[in-house]
Symmetry: C2
Subunit: 354 residues, 2 copies
Amino acid sequence: MEIKVTLAQTNRTRPQDSALGFGNVFTDHMFVMDYSKDNGWHDARIEPYADFSVPPSAMVFHYGQAIFEGLKAYKTPDKKICLFRAKDNFERMNRSAKGLCIPQIDVDFVMDAMKKLIKLEEKWIPETLGTSLYIRPTIIATDPFLGVRASYTYKFFIILSSVGAYYADGLNPVKIWVEKEHVRAIRGGMGEFKTAANYAASLFASEEAKKNGYDQVLWLDGIERKYIEEVGAMNIFLLIGDELVTPILNGSILPGITRYSVISLAKKWGMNISERKISVEEVFKAHEDGKLTEIFGSGTAAVISPVGEIRYGDKVISIGDGTPGETAMKFYNALTDIQYGKAEDTENWLEVIG
Amino acid sequence: MEIKVTLAQTNRTRPQDSALGFGNVFTDHMFVMDYSKDNGWHDARIEPYADFSVPPSAMVFHYGQAIFEGLKAYKTPDKKICLFRAKDNFERMNRSAKGLCIPQIDVDFVMDAMKKLIKLEEKWIPETLGTSLYIRPTIIATDPFLGVRASYTYKFFIILSSVGAYYADGLNPVKIWVEKEHVRAIRGGMGEFKTAANYAASLFASEEAKKNGYDQVLWLDGIERKYIEEVGAMNIFLLIGDELVTPILNGSILPGITRYSVISLAKKWGMNISERKISVEEVFKAHEDGKLTEIFGSGTAAVISPVGEIRYGDKVISIGDGTPGETAMKFYNALTDIQYGKAEDTENWLEVIG
């Protein structure tokens, strides 16, 4: 399929790196293609970033049939543009698509389209360490129809956003609220897919956590409400004695690409890494026994995010001394060194596109 | 707040009643208002039905912060326009709003706005029994922002659709697929709110059911996967011996307004009505014992929908003789007689607006 390119009449200016936040500065162009039963994915185009014209009856507004991905392009010191495990994102997008009855995309084609778009938008990639070009591929259901069924038409788009560090406080440890009442996802539900529903389900508890002075919610399993699952914006790792533990994928946890990368590095480094069920009780017991030395999150947005405090009902524990733990920093440095082209890409995770 | 009215330049023609389906014919105008932190709900207007201009980064596309309602206006034989328990819908919408961190609406104001819109669109209300004007109030999150949090801006809109009977086959009994693997909602989740997420979560199993020749999915509880919950588009009632049973609201079941109406009528008629937990095992046992005489669904779209067959794994049972059961018909007739102004509105459910 050919990609038609329509250039923007005026090109805006990228804000200074120091002024960048997360996800509010968009570039001059976007990639869009449409799907219909008769034509499959068609009308692929790069065009000026602009509002979509969407009927009030579009199914995405009513029935949430929408999936997305989040990945980043990095500028290396020698001005190369690099992508980190990008193909894994589009493969996950196809798994999400299947779960939401959305037609599959051609991974190689959308990879090419994305690279073409990024090269066109090169000036939007900030260069300071920690900054990047955030890439948001999205698919939404567009049938103008109020009956409940999978849509017959869809829009796929990729928008780009120049971003600073995800957490405004940088790598300062975050405070995590273990949610006792609300549930994000459940086995047999949508939790393993990157779909709008999971984020909608997270809002109420997240606001509660914020009101109580906590940055993020740690979700428990929806059945026994005993086992820790994920933090919504990231997966979670705990260093207990010499064991690095992360909850095993169970259908209600998003299979994070940074999560896989941490596991790979841990194995390579000869660490004692486990994917297993871990209860919140075990976490607090390990702390009591003095064995819980670090907790950190992993995700595309923040890469690695050390956790300094956890609250579960009335119980509050502090982890570490208020600075990022040694293990968290080791993973953060190793991953960002690969992403920014400062270390050898021994795992073959990087793709240079310009 | 004043409602500014802008009339459409050209008025389209309503299709013949016999040509109407569900949710694909929209009227000439809609009601819209916007929300911002500084101005609250503002800019209330009735304007020509048209596409919205929505940024690709609008939060509703990514994080599913969206709620809606579904209700109907009916034309009586003496040409009055009637609403059925409409205020209950907007009160439920406010409960959904709370659950999704969406600002509350002024129920009296939106009721008035809706009535004004319906009167303007009177010619779009079909008059044949079973047809109606379907009303879809909706709220979507509109911040152009990719961080995960509740949006600061929203759009509320009401669109209207001339509809025929929800099920093309009319009151012919439907076939129901009891879903063993997928879960719609769970205690502590979004199930009791009318939000996009629940419908997204229902698509995969619904498509599977359709492929197997079934019309709808009957969802089980997400924890034990033993207790029946609802059918996605409707709540469910079972007549076992002389007991009319419907699953008790538990946080993962939508509190249907037609469900409440059936319960009220059942009580008024002196029936033995129970809201309680009921396992799928009990349903099959009751059938085996010859005590399960009827199953029917209740919902705004279909009003009452008799169930003629249920499949659970390899087990299939037929209920009734292929025609709607006596109890289902009694509720259907009582409710539609009230809705179409053919019977006295003893419960004070009807509101005449023109």
